[in-house]
């Protein structure tokens, strides 16, 4: 699919979604708000996987760092929200660099495990210091983004739109091309004169930056930071599935996948506990039969390559 078609579709979709608060109730808005933050998690993951070629099994390590750094500073130091969000993003970038160091030395499953262990360690640290972090119950935040559902919705939509535009634009830029080359064939890329280490490190930082930002924004929307919403392995799994489901290497597909997962989970709520089963089965079927994901299906229908 050509870049222009995608950009157009992206802008039209954003415009359409911006009108949603005029038509639906608070519950649906709340759901979509959550979905948009997950959309950013998934897009950030796709930049790392699809372009730099690094499979991060613990995206929730980065989102969790962002969320808790912001939350703790707000709770204990009383920093204002923008400062907390910035600090959260910075903490996530530091975490991203910590992940990048082994990633550049290790390959495949070993790096995957490190990222998984990172999540488990963070989770343990948070739960074991429950007195300080709120543990499993969560950490209450004195400040929230807004008490109004529509405002929260628009903030989240604007944040996802902006993040999507930046990440997608980056993936299609000259730097994105070099990053793709580094991910696909590091030897070739360095023979062409590119410092693969530098470009991959940058990808880690950018991915971490957006994960951290989204994590921090999310806790200020929810008014509480809890392990279950931003750190748990299940959150990371959801992010990975969203990105693969939406279409690897498309950035925008990742957001579509994330929104789909949350909306589908909600629509299937009458099934009770079976809803997760059905969503997983559907995602599995898409992955097995349409490995290109949602955007892959769309682009093959359109015939354009």
């Amino acid at each position: 699919m050509s870049g222009r078609t995608l950009w157009t579709g992206f802008l039209v979709a954003l415009a359409g979604l911006a009108l949603l608060p005029f038509g639906v109730g608070g519950y649906v808005l709340g759901l979509m708000t959550l979905a948009y933050y997950y959309g950013v998690f998934a897009m950030a993951w796709d930049l790392l996987f699809g372009f730099a070629g690094e499979v991060n099994f613990g995206p929730s390590f980065l989102t969790g760092l962002g969320a808790y750094a912001a939350g703790l500073l707000n709770h204990y130091a009383g920093w204002p929200i923008p400062a907390c969000v910035a600090a959260g993003a910075a903490a996530a970038v530091v975490g991203g660099v910590a992940l990048a160091v082994p990633a550049l030395r290790l390959s495949g499953p070993y790096f995957g495990l490190i990222t998984l262990v990172a999540v488990l360690l963070l989770q343990n640290a948070l739960v074991l210091n429950a007195g300080f972090t709120g543990g499993e119950i969560g950490l209450d935040l004195p400040d929230v983004l807004s008490a109004d559902e529509s405002t929260n919705y628009w903030i989240a939509l604007a944040f996802m739109g902006l993040s999507g535009a930046i990440l997608f634009g980056l993936s299609r830029s000259a730097v994105g091309l070099i990053l793709q080359a580094s991910g696909q064939d590091a030897v070739e890329a360095s023979a062409l004169g590119y410092n693969v280490t530098k470009h991959k490190l940058a990808a880690f930082c950018i991915s971490a930056l957006f994960s951290g930002l989204a994590g921090a924004m999310l806790v200020f929307y929810l008014g509480t930071a809890s392990v279950g919403t931003v750190v748990d392995i299940a959150v990371g799994v959801q992010v990975i599935i969203a990105a693969v489901l939406g279409g690897r290497r498309t950035i925008l597909g990742a957001a579509i996948g994330a929104i789909f997962l949350i909306v589908a989970g909600e629509l299937l709520r009458p099934l009770g506990q079976l809803s997760t089963f059905v969503v997983s089965a559907f995602a599995l079927a898409v992955i097995l039969f349409f490995p290109g994901g949602f955007l892959g299906i769309l682009s093959s229908r359109g015939g354009a390559r």
């Binding site: 000259a174 091309l177 030897v187 360095s190 004169g193 590119y194």
Partner: protein, 487 residues
């Protein structure tokens, strides 16, 4: 005129193996040096050492006076070295034009847009190498020659002082070779220093100013193409001096259908024709050699026979078509391949490797085969308990052949058994082959680029070139008609 590339004392060891030993040469601006040597001679390693893909253990590599030995690859590239890989390595999800654009960008994190001059330059380069018609296609839809053009285009785009080209003509047709030669010659005209790495003097003779020959990691000869071709050592490495022919009684069953009958076999790898309408036959008890350079299609032919790659055309064995049979079925049916890559079970002992080969036979047969093979290759008996990965190259080759023989093949396919072996090992292997030929009625199909090894044992010879059979005849006629082509 000062040298743009100056290499001296270059040495590389992999574990105990010395892959490159004290190699030195220099290339001036506007000069093309051919670096030749048979497979495993270390010439590709030299190229990787210059590019920094491997780090040298000793020696210096000067680019326009700056020693870059030990630098990371991307800095060496920025210093002015470009590499045209033997195997095309395009970005598969990007278009041809994007692939060329990639080679034109600065190594910066902040350059988001490439700029219009870059786009214009990319188009210009595409036109220069003959890719203007396919700029917006993806590499996977391109024919083989265009993929090679894309590699050249990237080198042109990088505009390096020193261009390294790995096997520029492998797999190309005569017409394509001519247009590639022109492109490479244009590098010289523009004042670049060019290093051409190839197997044979002949294929690069018309293009190069000088040739340096390597064998087993060491310097053998240097000079003009003619001088190197006349060099005693070079001739011995490639031709083994005089070709000795040992006659074997003519097979008498010429009336019967051949044991193996390949009719019009073709193989496509993507768009690349790896094998084109190849027909050949092997009679019961015959020893047939298929001679061809690297990339001519020998391995593809054998893999088609063994059922490892899908193919068009008909392959019959003992009168029955092999279509629809799995590779394992074909192997159990009597066609046993001993591949170029040997495919040993490295961590397992020599005896274990052999016994796995005999697993489909009843125990007494297996034991008899094993005893016979230990007699044929005494060194394997001495090493029976040793892990096969610890064997020398020659011993590994013997083990691979012995393991194939454990299966009691009706047809043994040997793919490049001499690959990377020292002459003394070659002689041992040759003796074993001769013994095999004299004492058993085994049927053998041998693929070789080493004519010295391929001819003495053969009853008949086929020559494979650019995926096609171009010649067929007896070894005696081969020397007269084809011999000079294999230097």
């Amino acid at each position: 005129m000062s040298a743009l590339l100056e290499v001296s004392g270059l040495t590389k060891r992999f574990g105990g193996l010395v892959a490159v030993k004290d190699i030195g040469f220099s290339i001036a601006a506007g000069e093309i040096l051919g670096l030749i040597g048979p497979n495993g001679s270390g010439k590709s390693t030299v190229m990787k050492l210059i590019m920094g893909i491997e780090r040298p253990n000793a020696g210096s590599v000067r680019i326009d006076g700056v020693d870059v030995a030990g630098w990371p690859t991307h800095r060496i590239a920025r210093q002015g070295v470009g590499l045209v890989f033997q195997h095309s390595r395009p970005l598969h999800r990007q278009t041809v034009l994007e692939n060329i654009t990639l080679a034109l960008l600065p190594d910066s994190l902040f350059r988001l847009a490439a700029g219009s001059h870059v786009a214009a330059r990319a188009r210009e380069i595409a036109a220069r190498v003959g890719l203007e018609g396919v700029m917006h296609r993806r590499p996977s839809t391109l024919p083989f020659a265009d993929l090679r053009r894309l590699e050249l285009a990237k080198a042109v785009a990088r505009n390096p002082k020193v261009v390294l080209v790995d096997e520029p003509f492998a797999g190309l047709t005569a017409g394509e070779v001519a247009s590639f030669s022109e492109l490479i010659a244009s590098f010289r005209a523009e004042g670049h220093a060019v290093l051409l790495v190839d197997h044979n003097v002949k294929s690069v003779a018309a293009l190069v100013d000088r040739v340096l020959a390597m064998y087993l990691g060491e310097y053998v000869a240097e000079g003009s193409a003619e001088e190197v071709m006349r060099n005693e050592t070079v001739r011995r490495v490639y031709l083994g001096g005089k070709i000795e022919l040992a006659a074997r009684p003519e097979p008498t069953d010429t009336g019967r259908p051949p044991l193996l009958d390949v009719a019009g076999a073709s193989v496509l790898y993507g768009k690349a024709q790896a094998l084109e309408d190849v027909s050949l036959h092997v009679r019961e008890g015959e020893f047939v050699s298929v001679v061809g350079l690297n990339g001519a299609g020998k391995t593809t032919l054998f893999n088609a026979i063994s059922g490892l790659v899908p193919h068009a055309g008909e392959i019959r064995f003992a009168g029955e078509s092999l279509r629809g049979r799995s590779a394992a079925q074909i192997a159990r049916g009597g066609i046993v391949q001993c591949p170029e890559s040997r495919e040993l079970f490295g961590g397992m002992s020599v005896q274990d490797n052999l016994e796995l080969g005999g697993q489909h036979q009843p125990a007494p047969v297996r034991e008899r085969q094993l005893a016979w093979l230990y007699e044929l290759f005494p060194i394997l008996k001495a090493r029976a308990r040793q892990a096969s990965r610890t064997l020398s190259g020659g011993e590994q080759q013997m083990l691979a052949i012995a393991r194939a023989l454990m299966m009691q093949p009706r047809l043994l396919i040997l793919d490049e058994p001499t690959l990377g072996l020292a002459p003394v090992i070659l002689e041992q292997l040759s003796k074993a082959m001769e013994l095999l030929r004299q004492t058993t009625d085994i049927t053998v199909l041998l693929g070789e680029q080493n004519v010295t090894f391929a001819l003495p044992h053969a009853d008949r010879v086929y020559v494979l070139e650019h995926a096609r059979i171009v010649w067929e005849g007896t070894p005696t006629r081969f020397e007269a008609e084809m011999g000079t082509g294999y230097l």
